[in-house]
């Protein structure tokens, strides 16, 4: 599956941070607060690789995806795409980069203009990037529709005429129009009905293998992420707390947060469900405005000790290719 993986990373984040300033309290109040959505992330994605990114809502996973494409403006740090600094790129430079970096959104209805036909929607990036016009563009659109499993005859129809699954296929075709290398898939199947999810997941896998695409696959569903990813990163409150090859992460999660997440996933098997000893976390995720000192997870961690409340754990290699940010990992389970 990971045949093409290797060599220099296609995408790289270095100490990437994206903060948002928001007004707090009543309208017109002067008080502001800083949301540290992404707060110092280092990661690499190899060409042809799919990196899964999981975490609870508000952990910053979508913002990280958007920051890699500079759809959200990073506050500090760097994003390198195929060696080019995305964060420092000029308007023109960014436009050229965007041809190679695309995004598939969760809500295909919200991401497509309801007044545009399918042909116009898929043709728009081709027009903007000056890639094809006239009959060549129309032919390319028909090819793209075929590629994502839609009848090319639907080109003249409008978004509201399609089901959720078909719309997501159109969103994928639009992302593929400019022949990108890298696609950020932000919860691409979570708004779809169960029976349709599998269709779209299969399509994404097939396209990846056929076109040698690199994905950042952002999702809250750990079963879906396991299915499609080569490696998986777990985010909590703006930072990566664990990152490992897929099978390693699911078989031997090291970080207590990853363990809690995995044990919370309900399994469609009543026998397993009856026997399962769940690690149930108390309370909610802390606020990304007032990030806890020390380990950000210590307020919910059932294993936390004094050190966790004061000292920030570093994301470091605990096993070959398997990094985690937890003071207790080596103590509890020696390498």
């Amino acid at each position: 599956m990971a045949a093409a993986v290797g060599g220099a990373p296609l995408v790289e984040a270095r100490q990437l941070a994206t903060h948002f300033t928001v007004r707090r309290g009543l309208p017109f109040a002067r008080r502001t607060a800083v949301i540290r959505a992404v707060d110092g992330i280092d990661l690499e994605i190899a060409r042809g690789e799919t990196l899964g990114l999981v975490g609870e809502s508000g952990c910053g996973k979508s913002t990280l995806g958007r920051s890699l494409l500079r759809l959200s403006q990073p506050t500090s740090g760097q994003v390198l795409f195929d060696g080019t600094d995305v964060t420092a790129a000029s308007r023109d430079g960014l436009r050229r980069l965007r041809r190679r970096m695309q995004m598939v959104f969760q809500d295909p209805y919200g991401s497509l203009d309801p007044r545009m036909t399918v042909e116009q929607a898929i043709g728009e990036p081709l027009r903007i990037h000056g890639l094809a016009s006239g009959e060549r563009r129309r032919q390319r659109i028909r090819d793209l529709l075929g590629l994502v499993g839609l009848d090319p005859a639907v080109a003249k129809r409008y978004p509201h005429e399609f089901s959720g699954g078909q719309m997501q296929r159109i969103g994928i075709a639009r992302a593929l129009a400019v022949e990108p290398d890298f696609i950020v898939c932000d919860e691409p199947v979570s708004a779809l009905d169960v029976s349709i999810q599998a269709q779209v997941l299969n399509l994404l896998v097939r396209l990846r293998d056929q076109l040698n695409l690199t994905y950042l696959f952002v999702a809250h569903d750990l079963s879906v992420v396991r299915h499609i990813s080569h490696r998986v990163a777990v985010m909590y409150l703006g930072v990566v707390v664990e990152i490992a090859p897929r099978d390693r992460l699911y078989a031997e999660p090291l970080h207590p947060y990853t363990r809690a997440l995995l044990s919370a996933v309900p399994v469609p098997n009543p026998t397993i469900e009856k026997q399962m000893q769940r690690m149930i976390l108390k309370g909610d995720v802390a606020s990304p405005v007032q990030v806890p000192a020390g380990c950000r997870f210590h307020t919910r961690c059932p294993l936390a000790v004094d050190r966790c409340r004061v000292e920030v754990p570093v994301l470091e290699e605990k096993r070959p290719g398997h990094r985690a940010a937890c003071h207790l990992v080596d103590v509890a389970r020696p390498v």
């Binding site: 009905d193 269709q199 809690a260």
Partner: protein
């Protein structure tokens, strides 16, 4: 039986014509039993629940026929005043979005004591004591103080706990939960399902739990009903339905989801096509256009929901235990 739903049919008038959301649905629910209702959007799970509660939105929606016997009494024959005495007191319902049923300008205390005074005949002081108790039961710490907060002061998971506390405060015989954990994170969902399991043991409340997540249902329910296009297509005990599904749609659902309890496969087995149009329906089995097992009769005649073995009902002309051609 606590609840007997018989031949329930609920329709909606739309611009395009009449939409049959619930199409001849019949099932029983025993005292203390928890039944999961699964299916995709538009399958009729929510409308079935709303029909039982007589909360189908008028004038577009209408219960056309059938009976809903609750403790032997047909709820469809009650007038609105009588129905209000049942809602909240004997049958409580919680929704996916707790804010849709919480009043944003009233404190939690006011919202809880109101129904306790109305249904349980308590005075305000007694009602407050009971309300605080219920908040403690669902794990709201510092409940005596937090009860005076407004809904927006709680997180999503806490609000759903508050909703459950409100729903259970009058000790209903039946709790109907419509996708109550769908909008929540998986760790919060685990807290809520753990809580419901505990409450079930403690209060012996019967439950109808509507969900699209087969995993949640597997961990919570005694029985599962699978709905498709407004109909029940399969109904069986929890172990039976997961181990030996007999309807092609149930089988398809179980095969199409990636599962943590199984090795990763290269490809998922999707259910091809999309759910049918509920307004302009072809004859025959509603699942037939997507069904790999369909036989000739599936095109012509709608299969009845029939018992294939004790406690296991299926609506299908084909036999899924045989490999399709």
């Amino acid at each position: 039986m606590l609840l007997e739903v018989q031949h329930l049919r609920t329709e909606f008038r739309t611009d395009r014509g009449v939409l049959t959301a619930v199409d001849d649905v019949s099932f029983d629910l025993a005292e203390g039993e928890a039944i999961g209702v699964v299916g995709e959007s538009g399958s009729g799970k929510s409308v079935t629940a709303l029909s039982i509660m007589r909360l189908v939105s008028k004038p577009a929606g209408r219960i056309m026929s059938g009976r809903v016997l609750f403790e032997g009494q047909d709820l469809l024959q009650l007038d609105e005043a009588e129905m209000q005495k049942i809602r909240g007191a004997k049958i409580a319902m919680i929704f996916q979005d707790p804010m849709s049923s919480l009043n944003p300008i009233l404190t939690i205390e006011r919202q809880m004591t109101e129904s306790l005074e109305l249904h349980m005949g308590l005075n305000r002081k007694q009602a407050r004591v009971r309300a605080v108790e219920m908040l403690q039961v669902v794990g709201i710490s510092d409940a005596d103080r937090r009860i005076d907060d407004y809904p927006h002061q709680f997180s999503g998971g806490m609000r759903q706990r508050v909703m459950i506390a409100i729903a259970l405060s009058c000790s209903p015989r039946l709790l109907i939960a419509d996708e109550p954990t769908t909008a929540l994170d998986v760790t919060i969902q685990a807290q809520i399902t753990d809580l419901v399991r505990r409450l079930r043991r403690e209060f012996a409340t019967s439950i109808i739990w509507i969900s699209h997540d087969l995993g949640v249902v597997a961990g919570l329910c005694d029985r599962v009903m699978v709905m498709y296009a407004g109909q029940i297509v399969e109904d069986a005990g929890i172990d039976q339905i997961f181990a030996e599904p007999r309807h092609p749609y149930t089988l398809g659902l179980l095969n199409s989801i990636p599962r943590l309890d199984r090795p990763v496969t290269a490809e998922l087995i999707p259910i091809e096509g999309s759910p049918p149009d509920l307004i302009d329906r072809p004859p025959g089995c509603p699942f037939q256009p997507r069904c790999p097992f369909a036989v000739e009769r599936s095109h012509e005649e709608r299969p009845p929901l029939e018992e294939v073995r004790p406690g296991h009902r299926v609506a299908c002309w084909a036999d899924v235990t045989k490999v399709p051609d």
